[in-house]
Structures are given as C-alpha cells and as structure tokens.
Symmetry: C2
C-alpha cells in the first residue's frame, strides 16, 4: 500500500512555485507509481503472436458471424477508433438486450490483472470466450462457433496458417487465442503523461502537474497506479461511503459472485484510467456520464474526501493527459459465406 | 433492348472448340455489353471530393452516434470487408426491428442509376439521408443528427475543414455529401471479368467463358449489363412468371410506391451482379440464400427459360468472375463525446 504521508510531503514540496527540484521530485514520484504504455504489443504467455495468427485474430474480432444473429462482433461493444468502448451505460446485445455491466475498453486491457469488472477471466484469451456465449451479448454456443467457422470455407486456410501442424485447427481455444493476440495490439502509447514519465517535463502543463500532484496526495494513486493507472488490483466500491443505489445497485455484488467470499462483496477490479476522457459513461453501472462527477464520487466513496471544484477540475485536466494514440487498424476482408454456411438466427 | 438472336449466333460460333476468332468474338460481344469498374473513385456532380471531405465522410460512415441508440452506423448494414452488406434477409435496425427489404451492397453503388430497390433516391447523397431517419433503421430525426454532431466538439473542426468558408457547416446536407464522397470510393476494381474486358483472354477460364456466353445468349444481359452488370434500369420481377409469394410478397409493390404508376407494380431496380458471390441472401426479400437457386428463379421468372443444372452451374461460375478487390479501409478515429454531448436513447 502506497504511503499517503510520504506523498503529501513531496507534493507540498513540489507545489512551491518555480522550484526545479520539486518538479523533479514530482516526476520521480510519478515514475515510482506509474509506468508508460510500451510502444509495441506485449507478448502473451503460451500464445505467440505470428503474422498469420494476428491476421486471423483481427478477422475474428470484426466477425459478426460469431454471434447468433450475425450482426454483433467484438468490435460492436469495443469499438476500435471510439475509445475501445460503445458509449452505452450497458451494452446492447442479442435481441436488443442490455448487458449487466458497462463494457470496459479493449484498449490496454492486456495490461490489466484480470478481465471483466469482477475479474472472472484471468486473461484476454479466457475473456474472449465469454461474450460469445452470453445470451444477452452474442448469444451463440461454443459448439456453434466452431460449426459456423467451419461452414465458411475461407477460415480453413486462415486457421491452418495461424496454427500450422494442427490437424483440426478450428477450435474454440484457437479462436480465443487469435482474438487475444489481436487485442494485445490494441494499446495506446505516447500519451502526454507517458512522455512525462519518460522524462519530458514539458509534456504536462502546470495545471496537469497540479492535478497529478493532487491525484497522488489525495490517495487516488493508491489504487490507480502501474502501467494502466488502475487495472492492477481489486477494491470495494464505497470503501468509505457507499454511493447511491443507482450507481451501486445492491443486486450486483461484484467479485463476490466469483469468489463467494463475503469480503469480496461490492468489490470490483479497479478500472484503468487510461483514455478515461474517451470512455464515458463511468463505473460498472455506466450511470455517471460526467467525468467531474465521477471524480467527486470517487473522492467521497473511496477516500472520504470532499474534493473542491478546483481540485476536481485539476484532476480532470491531469486525466486528460492519459489519452494516448488510438491504434490505426485496417478493416479485415472477411471470407464469404457460401450456400451451406450456417445462417443467422436473428 | 439487346437482341437475343444476334447473341445466339455469336455464342454458337464461340462455342466451337479451339476457334480463336470465336473467342475474340465473345470478348468483343462482352466489351459491347459491359464496362470495367474504373481503378479510382468517380467524381460526383456538384460534390467535389477533397481529402478533408473524404476523411469526414469516412468518420460519418462509421459513426454510431448518428443513430438514436448510438450503436448503428452506415457500416452496420453495409459492412466494408464483408461484401458491403450485412448477410441478413432484411437488416436488423433500431430496437431489433427488421427492415422492409434486403440491404443492397454499398460497393459500386455509385454506378447504379438510382438508390434503394425502388430507386426512390436519385443518388448516394440523397440515399444517405434515408436510413438515418427510418424508424426501423437508425431511428433518429434530421434535427437530432445536426444536434448530435454539434454536441461532439471534434466535428466542428472536421466539418470546417471539409466545407471551408461555410458559416454553419454542420448541416444534414453536408453530412449526406460527405458520406456520398466516401461511399464513392467503395468500388471493387480488378475482377477477373474486368481484366477480361480489358483484353486479357486468360482472365476467364473455359467454364467461365461458357457461363458468360450463356449469360448473354439466355438473355440475362438484357437487364444485367453496363459497368455494374445491372443497376442501370428497372424491371418487373416476374415478367414472364411470378415467383412464389415468399420471394415476391404481394404487399411490396416496389417502384409503384414511388411513381404510383400501375405499370411500375412489382418493378424493382435491377440489382448489380458485381460481387454477387459475397452478397447472399438474394432478391429484395432476401429469401434466397443459394446463388444457384437465384439463377434458376431468374431464368423462369424473367426469361421463361428452364435452365439446366449444367447451365446454372456455368452461369454461377461466370458470376464468380465478377468479384473484385474489396476496398482496404483504415478505421477512422472518431472524436470523443463530452459531458454535454447528447446521449443515446436505446
């Protein structure tokens, strides 16, 4: 656990006007707490990236025929070019049903400790199988995913190239592995804050630095730290003061549903704050659309602090410096259906 | 009207084995009836393409916030990389409602004489406004399209660059113009048949040439001709023999609903056969999934001909040579919503 006392001392020092030493101290402090997004995709344990697997993973990510209706793909709720999200409180899925929680961004998800708000998938590979068979998301079955892909002749070649030597390469495991390899490339490096962490003091302006100092001194960085400024641990929502039932409805006990441990009631994975200005609405319910309101709620519910409007504004300005470069993705050309391809069931 | 007698003579000649003169005659015949897709996008009258307008048009084409729900974009039903269609009998739109007719492909639509199955929009620009306000498609209103875009700060810059000098550039007209400019780039040149039309006799194999000869001699080319091998005129569905009510339901009178002219009952725009192997299911109802069945139905309903399995197979093989190169499109980075941006109404 990060020490608030130490942080406060350093922050006090760095707020003295014109002190070069203090600026340098803030940067050092930040470098100790946070890490920049790397410039290239990380490798996944036990799931090597090859050009053929990456190409297949991209096809599958944009493949609507993986859903029962043939209109919902991974990209429907995690849109590349739109923050990796869908800008909905909770996603609209199969037959216009609402998902249970707000769709987390796919961007930089590879750096999170686990996937989903409750961490029920240990990695991207395991996560990728979830929405496929969720009846309110893509609404298909594991068996049908394989039947469907085997019914589209072009995938035989694509899977054979991605999994050379496999006698029967079109399997659910291989679908998930390929999607994970593609998703690991959806990272957003070169945010102003990353440049700052890299030693460029001019990458943040004065207000952003004040916001950073507040972010540390108020205790936000106790949970929102590491490469994703969050995403690395679990925390109860409402550790000091529970927000209202609209924002934290009693029916969703978070990680408790995974671990069945009482101390995990209302515990969620701490979300990454990377690209947070692109990913409204906020929280697992998606009930808060205004980042300023989200910051204020975090102050009261997690830190027992009533942040002033000025403090909220400065923290918001700092969070704006967490917006990186969204990945540039060329749409895949998907293999055509033929007369015998299984048809949609909308 | 194309002369069937002349075609038959030429086809008889070209079917004599090994006759170089006959091959050349088939090519000349084809060159007279069809035109290749150009290598670059055509210009639109009164709607110049500029890099800024094209970039804006691409953003808007992929912009789900143009729909009431914020989950449906132009690309939802006209998917780039998937034949420019949605592979549904009729599209699923706002609140999972079904559209009235099968979604035509956006690919090469710029070369069609008019847009929609009934030709009710004269061009891409006019077409682009339709689905936005159709309650079973994107379900918004013309007023709200403008409100929505004005509520996303990044669009102010994008529209100003696309329409320099305009005092209030975010208008519905300018939305439609930009989308049309982007759609005009969604063309599929370099199909084997285009190379054949360009003089490369080896671009089609022997069976494809037999299919082409049948396509001409049986009379298909009377309607399916020109650059889009269709798309250039209107024709009654069931000119010789009406297909069953599932394929041609009595309630949809086609172009009659536009012109209110009795002779336009059950008249539809002849669809392009470009990329036809990518765009199942077929006909305005989307009730036929097998291209062979569609060819057989066309033979009986339009030409009064009972095509043999062998003839259907050869025509199908020829139609496969109409598949061009699908456009390679980089997904746009869409401008973020802010706290005051109008929110989705799913």
């Amino acid at each position: 656990m990060y020490s608030k006392a130490v942080a406060s001392l350093i922050v006090l020092a760095c707020c003295a006007p014109g002190a070069a030493w203090s600026q340098s101290a803030l940067m050092k402090q930040a470098q100790g707490l946070f890490k920049p997004i790397p410039a290239s995709a990380p490798s996944l344990p036990g799931n090597d990236s090859t050009p053929a697997k990456l190409a297949l993973g991209k096809m599958l990510y944009f493949e609507p025929r993986l859903s029962e209706s043939h209109i919902i793909s991974c990209n429907s709720c995690h849109m590349v070019g739109m923050g990796g999200v869908d800008l909905q409180e909770t996603s609209l899925g199969h037959r216009w049903q609402h998902g249970g929680r707000n769709a987390p961004t796919v961007y930089n998800a590879v750096f999170d400790v686990a996937q989903f708000w409750d961490g029920r998938a240990k990695d991207l590979e395991q996560q990728a199988g979830g929405p496929l068979v969720n009846p309110v998301e893509m609404g298909t079955t594991e068996t049908h995913v394989v039947e469907q892909l085997k019914g589209i002749p072009g995938y035989a070649t694509a899977f054979a190239k991605a999994y050379p030597g496999a006698s029967d390469p079109i399997t659910l495991d291989n679908v998930r592995k390929a999607i994970a390899v593609f998703e690991a490339t959806l990272i957003t490096p070169h945010a102003p804050f990353d440049r700052y962490l890299g030693g460029d003091d001019k990458a943040l302006d004065a207000v952003q630095k004040e916001g950073l100092a507040l972010f540390i001194s108020k205790g936000c960085a106790a949970c929102h730290n590491g490469v994703n400024i969050g995403g690395g641990m679990y925390a109860p929502f409402g550790v000091v003061e529970r927000p209202g039932a609209e924002i934290l409805p009693p029916g969703d006990k978070g990680r408790f549903t995974v671990t069945k441990t009482v101390s995990d009631e209302y515990v969620f994975r701490v979300p990454s704050l990377r690209n947070i200005t692109l990913t409204a609405p906020y929280f697992h319910t998606g009930k808060v659309w205004d980042l300023r309101q989200a910051i204020a709620i975090m102050g009261s519910s997690q830190l027992g602090a009533t942040l002033t409007d000025d403090e909220v504004g400065k923290i918001q300005t700092f969070l704006g410096a967490l917006t990186g470069e969204q990945p540039v993705v060329t749409l895949p050309i998907l293999p055509p259906s033929v007369a015998t391809t299984p048809r949609p069931k909308p």
